[in-house]
């Protein structure tokens, strides 16, 4: 076990990890930040997505030790400072972008990464960017709609409520 130190959601944190400890395990079991989910554990589904130094990563496929000294952001760091939902989170609620909610932390983190890179994506660009995020409930349509809405675009023409 070694002691790791990193910034998570703006706070400096420390915790113990083995070489093999995955970042998602460190976040969930050492820091008790259980909003980041483990879906497939094979880097397919994206439920474990977090940001490391501003980049989206699958935290089930990165060792915690690789995040030593890094700036990590998880779903727990996505709400506004007053605790209200962020624009992205609110859009998912408003447009029914989740059903069971298991994939949603990853979807929200992916959306934040996309909109930072491309503030007004087309629907096709949204769908392409979601390639590494799997949802088994929604059929994606309302997720795409939520993301388009979060980018400030008119979604009234996107069907299927």
């Amino acid at each position: 076990m070694t002691e790791l130190s990193m910034t998570v959601n703006g706070k400096t944190v420390t915790g113990k990890a083995e070489g093999r400890t995955l970042l998602v395990t460190f976040l969930r079991e050492e820091l008790k930040l259980t909003g980041t989910h483990v879906g497939c554990d094979t880097s397919q589904c994206g439920a474990c997505q977090v940001h490391v130094n501003g980049q989206p990563v699958k935290s089930c496929t990165m060792f915690a030790a690789e995040a030593e000294g890094a700036d990590v952001r998880t779903i727990e760091g996505m709400a506004n400072a007053d605790g209200s939902l962020s624009v992205i989170q609110q859009a998912f609620q408003d447009h029914h972008g989740l059903q069971c909610g298991f994939c949603t932390p990853g979807m929200v983190m992916t959306t934040a990464a996309l909109l930072k890179e491309n503030p007004k994506p087309t629907e096709a660009e949204v769908r392409e960017y979601l390639e590494g995020n799997i949802c088994r409930c929604t059929g994606y349509h309302n997720i795409v709609k939520s993301i388009m809405a979060a980018s400030g675009q008119d979604v009234s023409a996107i069907a299927a409520e």
């Binding site: 880097s43 997505q49 989206p56 990563v57 699958k58 496929t61 060792f63 690789e66 390639e131």
Partner: protein, 259 residues
């Protein structure tokens, strides 16, 4: 996953030293290695992280374009002044995979369906290691096999930039690797065509197409050619015959897209 010692060297020399330990392995972005370790297909005694060394990260130059071995696919997609290569990098995996996976890791692993080996072979890239320079034609030895020696580290890859180039990938949608991918590169000296995803020997050049395209760089030049299915991979995603067919189709598409 079995436990291991995590080593984060500060320089390539330190990394090379750490890799001398018995059963130590280099860790690039881990996008292949970590899943294989979870499946216990790999159980290194130590992992030597190559991601934290500034000397191995970055994209520089215009011809050749030189890419540090620990540069992520995402950075290559955003920065490489070689459009066909940047486009290829931008199609690997998904955005999160591209944030971690590295060019050195991909080339060293030489997955028979990976994208980067096709770009390196078609471009006639030079793979630089901590010990020597290896031209792409000598680098790819077979499925998951390269000319790299034990503990040898890819420090950078140098890509000559062709006059015209394009990569066409027929996506295997579950893995996001290439079911078949073809990279076509036209240089003044001739055309090089590299095929990934098809052969049981891994990435390879299609010499008949190179000859035809060097004489006439158009999709029509491929019309009389056929690809034998002998030695091609056959699995639930596609038979050897289907892959053979795709090689020609994807080559034609790449030539058309290259203009």
């Amino acid at each position: 996953m079995h436990n291991f010692d995590f080593v984060k060297p500060g320089s390539v020399a330190e990394a090379a030293e750490a890799l001398k330990a018995e059963d130590a392995m280099a860790l690039g972005g881990g996008q292949t290695l970590i899943p294989t370790m979870k499946a216990r297909l790999n159980a290194p005694s130590a992992l030597v992280s190559l991601s934290g060394m500034a000397e191995m990260v970055g994209v520089s130059g215009s011809d050749p374009v030189v890419i540090g071995g620990a540069t992520t696919h995402g950075q290559v997609a955003a920065e490489a002044g070689y459009p066909a290569l940047a486009a290829l990098a931008g199609q690997i995996g998904d955005p999160a995979v591209r944030s971690r996976g590295t060019i050195g890791g991909s080339l060293a692993n030489n997955d028979p369906a990976a994208c980067y080996p096709a770009a390196a072979l078609a471009s006639g890239a030079v793979i630089k290691t901590d010990r020597r320079e290896i031209v792409a034609d000598d680098f790819f030895v077979g499925m998951f096999e390269t000319a790299l020696e034990e503990g040898e580290i890819i420090t950078s890859v140098s890509f000559p930039v062709p006059a015209k180039a394009n990569y066409q990938k027929f996506l295997q949608p579950a893995s996001r690797f290439a079911l078949v991918g073809v990279f076509v590169a036209q240089f003044d000296s001739g055309v090089r065509v590299a095929v990934t995803g098809a052969s049981e020997e891994g990435v390879h050049r299609w010499s008949a197409a190179e000859e035809a395209l060097s004489a006439n760089f158009s999709a029509e030049a491929l019309e009389g050619l056929s690809v034998a299915s002998d030695g091609l991979m056959s699995d639930l995603h596609g038979s050897a015959e289907y892959r053979a067919h795709l090689v020609k189709v994807m080559t034609g598409r790449a030539v058309r897209a290259a203009g």
